[in-house]
Amino acid sequence: MATTATIKSPSKSTWSGGQAPMKASYGKLMMWFFLLSDAFTFSALLITYGVIRYSYPQYNPEIHGEVFKFSTEYWPIPDYVFDGVPFLHGMHLPLIFVSIMTFILILSSVTMVLAVEAGHRRDRKDVEKWMLWTIVGGLTFLGCQAWEWSHFITGKEEGLKGVADATKFFGANLVQNQYGPQGFADLFFFITGFHGTHVFSGVVLNFIVFYNVVVGTYDKRGHYEMVEKVGLYWHFVDLVWVFVFTFFYLI
């Protein structure tokens, strides 16, 4: 991608080729616009969550009783749904596990920045090292999410009595939900699942780039711009998680 190409006639317009409008390469520019469209998708999902949530009654201790209980009558407080931590069974520890997940994703974003920085210096060994850490971070995050999902699906000991019949059910799936209105479980699966899919494809892309770094593709090409492009995608995945963390777990 030679930006140093000599422009023969100065009358050429910005878009007639031979130069990089917005001083970014074609691939990077397109990655940015793809991410913009992806940002719209995720905003739509999160706003849908907000809409459905606020179209339900909120838990109010004065009406619903001082001690919070799961009920399909009102939207659950996330602190009571996501309060599990691996190896600490039965303890009420809201936000601990999700913040660990957030840290893992932020750290893998940091190692990605370091990989991009090493790419600028064309330091192959360094890029290899940081790309590998990024992949490890991504896989760890996916593992945490698998735990989170199985925990959510299995449910809590107290269960919830069904409305139609008195049998208790535990956990949540797409047809029943122990924690509250059905929409809560559906949106949990959809939003964190969609984000998890992004993390997974990010790990795959990271691995392809890592492979290319190892076999020396970018050394031959003369630049490590591909690391930057995939890096943008990876940071975006981190960015989305920051919002999911706030709107799904904190609020």
Binding site: M22, K23, I63, S109, L239, V242
Partner: protein, 123 residues
């Protein structure tokens, strides 16, 4: 970085201390902000004020990720605006649908007694 190096130099350039320090600084900010959020969730009662605080801190984190990690701050003005301006529509969507959700709530639960059912069910 906006410029693309094409000259094929062999041998690596040493790490730039300043760049690495900046990355560490941004990492620290992101970690501290997340810790503050979790701490606040434990200490303060749930309510609009706390939620506004959380959203504010989320935007702070988003700013650092986009501007520093994704390097948008250092791109040309036209690129920054082509990415940021369309996101204003998201704010509009949020405002429009948030109003809508209040309407749905009114329609579905305008009968006050409906929300009191759990009290009766309490054993």
């Amino acid at each position: 970085m906006a410029n693309i190096n094409t000259e094929n130099t062999t041998g690596t350039i040493p790490r730039n201390k300043e760049t690495v320090n900046k990355i560490i600084k941004v990492t620290a900010i992101l970690a501290v902000v997340t810790l503050i959020e979790v701490g606040a969730a434990y200490v303060f009662p749930r309510g609009l004020l706390l939620f506004a605080f959380f959203i504010g801190l989320t935007l702070v984190k988003a700013f650092y990720i986009v501007s520093e990690f994704m390097h948008l701050k250092y791109e040309t003005k036209s690129l920054i605006w082509s990415i940021m301006l369309p996101l204003l529509f998201v704010i509009w969507l949020l405002v429009a649908l948030r109003t809508e959700s209040a309407e749905i709530f009114q329609t579905k639960f305008s009968d006050e007694t409906k929300t009191e059912i759990p009290v009766e069910n309490k054993e």
